[in-house]
């Protein structure tokens, strides 16, 4: 239980750190942290439940996209504010950096494996956010028609 709280807290702090770097409006800082934290926790649960790294990233990204649209509506800010900061903890930064380091050391096999892993996870994040966006657009259209 304690490790879960610790994980949630660290993901929240890490997201808020990057939100400050990306200069989000002050009143949205807490929401950015929550979105990042939720995405990270969901991707963590998915991978413990047996999902592949890309699958876990997709699950986390769907949550980031959905919560991003929700907070955009609640706080009257573009969803980009929450989505760009929220997907930061999901980014496969370490595999991407390891791929380039392996290439520079002429270790092409390890490099290619890490590069493919990083690209797949990035694609999964983009697809997850896109899926949530499609649903959000459908909901908006339905609300304006009703």
């Amino acid at each position: 239980m304690i490790w879960l709280l610790q994980e949630a807290f660290l993901a929240f702090v890490a997201t808020v750190g990057f939100a400050v770097l990306f200069n989000v409006p002050r009143r949205s800082l807490w929401a950015c942290g929550l979105v990042g934290m939720a995405g990270y926790l969901v991707s963590g649960w998915s991978s413990r439940a047996g999902a592949s790294p890309a699958g876990a990233a997709f699950a986390g990204a769907v949550v980031v996209g959905a919560l991003g649209e929700l907070f955009a509506y609640l706080l009257h800010l573009p969803a980009t504010t929450f989505i760009v900061t929220g997907f930061i903890p999901l980014i496969p930064g370490i595999p991407a950096a390891k791929a380039m380091i392996a290439f520079l050391r002429e270790d092409y096999q390890d490099g290619a494996a890490s590069a493919v892993r990083a690209t797949l996870s990035s694609a999964a994040i983009a697809a997850g956010i896109g899926s949530a966006g499609v649903v959000a657009r459908a909901v908006r259209q339905w609300r304006t028609r009703a």
């Binding site: 660290l10 890490a14 770097l21 200069n23 504010t81």
Partner: protein, 253 residues
């Protein structure tokens, strides 16, 4: 037609500001299109790439087209939010063309919402938190805060001084990695590798990596490929800085 020229001018400036501050390609097109049609054009064709924007404005069988070169892309989400808000106000008819022009320049000149020392501190703590999520302990956390913070200071200083983005990234990665290696030798800790890799996380091109694929999925192929190439170059620059430092100090990763 002076009116059409005005709309084109405002649209180009708005598109440039959106792109320079980290808006996605589709959002630049959508926001500029809404604003341009609200301010007097009948139709706009907007072509956005990471290094330049082309806009045609059309009204009453007249048309005007211009290109705006765009350089240097950062992320400032307060500016993106302000620009989207301006486009919404113009759709509601609450903004004149002169008013829009003034607001755009106010947005461009707006200072950062957070003081510099706070940005550096928060970025350093964020990098250390990612390290802790991968299993780093307290000593590693403290060393990462120091190394990433120093790297961030160097990056901000070089950005303002002279270096281009790639050289800045190489040198910042070199400084962060060197600090991490020397620090973990001075104060031994079980996972020096985590200190090294966490200290450069703030340099990684995460936003272009994801936006590149988002653009490709949306059918913005040119923009997607260009952002992907940009991300690969920045990644290579980070790796170069790290490898240089590891080779000089004989560190292991």
């Amino acid at each position: 037609m002076a009116e059409l020229r005005d709309v084109l001018d405002i649209s180009l400036r708005a598109g440039q500001l959106l792109l320079e501050n980290g808006a996605e390609t589709w959002r630049v097109e959508e926001t500029v299109h809404r604003m341009g049609t609200a301010l007097g054009a009948e139709w706009l064709d907007i072509y956005v790439t990471p290094t330049g924007i082309i806009i045609s404005t059309i009204a009453a069988h007249e048309h005007r087209t211009r290109i705006r070169r765009v350089m240097g892309v950062g992320v400032d989400l307060s500016k993106v939010a302000a620009l989207v808000e301006l486009s919404r106000r113009s759709v509601r008819g609450q903004v004149t063309r002169a008013g829009a022009r003034d607001t755009l320049e106010q947005i461009a000149a707006a200072p950062r919402a957070y003081p510099m020392w706070l940005i550096i501190l928060m970025v350093a703590i964020a990098c250390a938190s990612f390290g802790a999520l991968s299993g780093a302990g307290l000593v590693e956390f403290a060393l990462t805060v120091l190394a990433a913070g120093l790297g961030m200071v160097v990056r901000l200083w070089l950005n303002r001084a002279f270096a281009g983005p790639l050289l800045t990234t190489v040198i910042s990665a070199l400084v962060a990695t060197t600090t991490a290696i020397l620090g973990s030798r001075l104060i031994p800790c079980p996972r020096p590798d985590l200190v090294i890799i966490s200290s450069v996380l703030f340099l990684l091109p995460g936003v272009p990596m994801i936006n590149a694929i988002g653009d490709l999925i949306n059918g913005d192929l040119v923009s997607g490929l260009a952002r992907g190439a940009q991300a690969a170059l920045v990644l290579a620059a980070v790796a170069l800085g790290m490898v240089l430092s590891l080779a000089l100090l004989g560190g292991r990763l």
